[in-house]
Structures are given as C-alpha cells and as structure tokens.
Amino acid sequence: MGTIRFREVVKTYPGKQPVIALDRVNLDIGEGEFVALLGPSGCGKSTLLNLIAGFEEMTSGALSFNGGTVDSPGPERAVVFQEAALLPWLTVEQNIAFGPSVQKRPRAEYEPKIRELLRLVGLERFAHSLPSQLSGGMRQRVGIARALVMDPKALLMDEPFGALDAQTRMSMQQLLLDVWQSLGTTVLFVTHDIDEAILLADRICIMSARPGRITREITVDLPRPRSVDQLTDPAFIRHKAAIMAEMREAQKEHA
C-alpha cells in the first residue's frame, strides 16, 4: 500500500549532448511515510518524481510501486503539479470530478466526497468558478482536492507551493499537514525550501546536481502533529542548522 522503491535508477535524456538527469539513484519510501526531496534547480527532482508518476521511462535500473512495476500514470499515484495544471474550461467542481468521472465511478459515490473535499480546502463558495477566477493558492488547493478525491496510495507533489507568496504558502503547508495527518498516505514532496522540507517531512533526501544523485538522507524527528508555528521552535532551528551543515558537506564532496 504505497511503497516506493528506486534501485540503481538511471535516467538519461538523449540528444546531441545527452543529459544524465539521474545517476544510479536508490530510494525507499515506506507506507505512509512523508519524504521530501530537497536540492538545487536542475538536479533531477522533477525527473525522479516523473518516473514514479509514470510520465517518463527510466533508462536503466529497477523501479517499483507497491512491489509492482510502473509503466504508466495512474490514479493510485496522484500528482500535484507546481502550477496546479487545472483544466481551464472546467469549473472547480468539474476539475475535481474529472478523475472519478473518467474512471466511471458512480456519481452518487463521488459527489458527496467532492463536497466534503471542497469544505476541507475551503472552496465551497467557489465550486462553480473557473480556475482563472481563483488565486494561485486557491488553484493549488483545487489541485490537492483533485488528487485526494481519487483516494491515492501515494501523493507526488512537485514544488506545489513554489509559486505562492510566503503567507499563502504557510497556510497551504498547514493544510497539507492536517490532511496528511488524517489520511496517512505516502507522500513524495519536491521542494528547494529547507524550512518547508523540515516542517513537512519524516525524512529529507538531499540531491546534488550533475549527475543527479541522492547524497544524504536525514531523518526529521520533530514530534507530530506539527504546525507552522513550530517554524520558530528551538528544536526546529537546531534541525535546520544540522541540515544546512549536511548540505554544505554534501556540496563540498560533490564540488
């Protein structure tokens, strides 16, 4: 139920000068675990996430989800995109209903669920609005609701709050913490914000660029449930200092 496993996974983008986006990556994510992928731009975070999402094919290695191979995208691995990627001609409600409806699930089953999710993400009043009428944060909340409505086994999030202002970002982080706390789905969360990674994750995988590899894994043992208020806790600051030291260390090794 929601385990992710990378074994010596290599991803090369062909071309005149082939790009080795991922070089022999190993990663294990357990059931219900929240893992953050932290690294500088271009180090292959999206590539890694796209492989497990089934959007792209690896060049070599072994990749499994729940013990099975991954060959195409599917609703058990829901993706939340950076810019939400909502369908602009559908209303908020229709966007959330897209998954259940293409899966031919009975309307009577998913309609109450959509109403509940709209309440959860605070968008009841905007059920019939179009994405273009929403703010960036609201759009991202629709993106999350659209993923959750499918009862995914894993949530794959690629810098979902990267484009938001600090305040909105914090309220989205709290929302995600609360949702995850109550659902317990496996989460793979891509970010380049250290605070965000510490606040959200059980474990942080630090990546380095060229070639893209996971260089460090750090366990975050802050107590749960967490809240954005902890951003200023001494324990949080201590973690942050340790992680920054680790990242500097990693950078030196790979310079």
């Binding site: 959007f55 909502l86 001609w89």
Partner: protein, 293 residues
C-alpha cells in the same frame, strides 16, 4: 476576435466597465463607437455620389449609389418573371442558393476538417500518414480545381459544394492540427494520472484545448468558402449570387453587379458573426480568463 463586448458567466460577478470619457467628435459608449465606424463608409458613398453626374461616373461605366440602390430594390422586391428585367424579384432566392451551398460545403469541411486536424495534431502516426498528403495538395488553389470539379460533378450543385468544402477544409484542418499539437503537456499528464484513457484525453483535454484554434480556422475557412461559392457559381452553376454577378456583368448591368457584390459582403459578414457568436458561447471560459489577467 475579442471585438465583441465580453459578457460574464451568470455566476461570475465582473466589475462594471469603467466609464470612458468621450474623445473628440463622438460621444462615449456604443453609440459613439457605431458613429465612428460609420463615418468612413458614409464619406465614401457621399463622395462617390458627388463624383458622378447623370447617375454614373468613370465615363458611364460605374453607376452612382442611388442607381445601385434602385437596382437592388427591384432585384429584391420587383415582380418576378416580367421578361424585361430577368433579375427582378430574384434576390432572395439567389442569396438562399448561395447560402445553402456554403452551408452544405462548410458543414462538410468542418465534419472532415475538425476530426482530421485534431487526430493529426494528437497522434504522430496519423500525422505521418495523412499530413504530407494534405500539405502536398494544399498549394493547389481551389480555382485550379474548377475544371476537375466540373468534369467530375458536372454543371450542378455538387461541383460547387465540393469546391467550398475543399476550400474551407484546409484552414480548418491546419488550425485544428496546431491547436491539438500545442496542448499544455501538464494538462495531458494530469488527465492521465487521473485515469483517463487515450480516448478520454482526446475528447476531454485535446479537443477543448484545441477549440480556440479550431474557431480561428473556421473563420478563415468560411471566408474561403464564400470565395469558392462565387467562383464556382460564375463558372459551373446557373444560379446564386456568383451566377448573377457574372451574368449581370455580361449584359452591362453594373448597378446589379455592385448590388450583388455588396450582398455577398453582407452575407459573408453575417455568417462570420454567426461563428463569432458560437465561439463566444463555446469559449466562455477563455473570456473570463482574459478579463482576469
């Protein structure tokens, strides 16, 4: 394409348009805009009327506007079958002949062009097999197809409809192809991760995403369809605005020729407005988008 006033969806409150201060000659708002638009045509007509003497100008070749108007009134409302004036009272039937041909040909162009274009843009296999042939045939102007069309379909409606469909088909298919090719990759990925089949993606993502481009193609295609109907009626069919145009020229009735030209223009404009209306309805989501940016 955004020349019509944007109207909001029922549910969406949109702030009232800011009051525009009147600039120069014309009052602000719609009336002023209409007056501004009418200025140039009125000036041309007045100048044209004043330049003529005794009802014509350019050495008697061009009739003045009042003569054209008179000719049109007889053409439109005169008694039929009076021998003296073969055009009397036949305007409506000729307009209908041409319009019906355009409608039939254009429906054909849409019925083939939209699905074909979307498929070409969406599937590399379809693109590889069909697109080269289309690109090969496309440079042949529809006028060059006339003899072929007459030889195959004879002097009758089908020949005209073939030309109209062909002429309208190219812009429709080319624009639909572009629209379907340029779909945001993340929209397709999002649909796939939600469990959409290839066909779901085509119908529920690619087609709506291509719609703006498709409408652009429809508008261009419709313009070409009117060109095609006039050309084929001048040569290959014995009725319609194109036929009257050529026939009236032959017997020296320039007043009817000009009335006919204006009628064609009016019909072209009318049919374009029809598409724009449908477009505005179908792309409501887009107008809101541009209004909010």
């Amino acid at each position: 394409m955004n020349d019509a006033p944007a109207r909001a969806l029922d549910a969406a409150p949109v702030p009232a348009a800011p009051k525009v201060k009147s600039r120069g000659l014309f009052p602000a708002g719609r009336t002023g805009a209409a007056m501004r638009a009418a200025l140039l045509p009125i000036l041309v007509i007045v100048a044209w009327q004043l330049a003529g003497s005794g009802g014509s100008l350019a050495g008697g070749v061009l009739p003045t506007p009042d003569r054209v108007w008179d000719a049109w009134v007889v053409w439109a409302f005169g008694p039929q079958g009076m021998g003296l004036n073969p055009y009397s009272g036949t305007w409506l039937s000729n307009v209908l002949f041409s319009s019906m041909r355009v409608a039939q040909g254009f429906v054909l162009a849409m019925a083939i062009g939209i699905p074909a274009g979307v498929m070409i843009g969406w599937s590399r296999a379809v693109s590889g097999t069909v697109d080269p042939t289309i690109q090969l045939l496309r440079p042949i102007p529809i006028t060059a197809w006339l003899p072929f069309s007459i030889a195959v379909f004879g002097i009758q409606d089908m020949g005209a409809i073939f030309l109209i469909a062909l002429g309208g088909f190219y812009p429709v298919v080319v624009n639909a192809t572009h629209g379907a090719r340029d779909v945001d990759r993340n929209w397709i990925r999002a649909a796939e991760m939600m469990g959409a089949s290839r066909f779901d993606v085509l119908r529920r993502v690619v087609l709506p995403a291509a719609l703006p481009a498709i409408f652009t193609g429809l508008r261009i295609g419709l313009g070409i369809a009117w060109t095609a109907v006039i050309v084929s009626e001048m040569v290959a069919v014995k009725s319609g605005l194109g036929y009257v145009l050529w026939d009236a020229y032959y017997v020296g009735r320039m007043d009817v020729v000009i009335a006919d030209m204006l009628s064609i223009g009016a019909m072209g404009l009318l049919s374009d407005r029809l598409i724009v209306t449908v477009e505005h309805w179908a792309l409501r989501w887009r107008r809101l988008q541009s209004a909010s940016r």
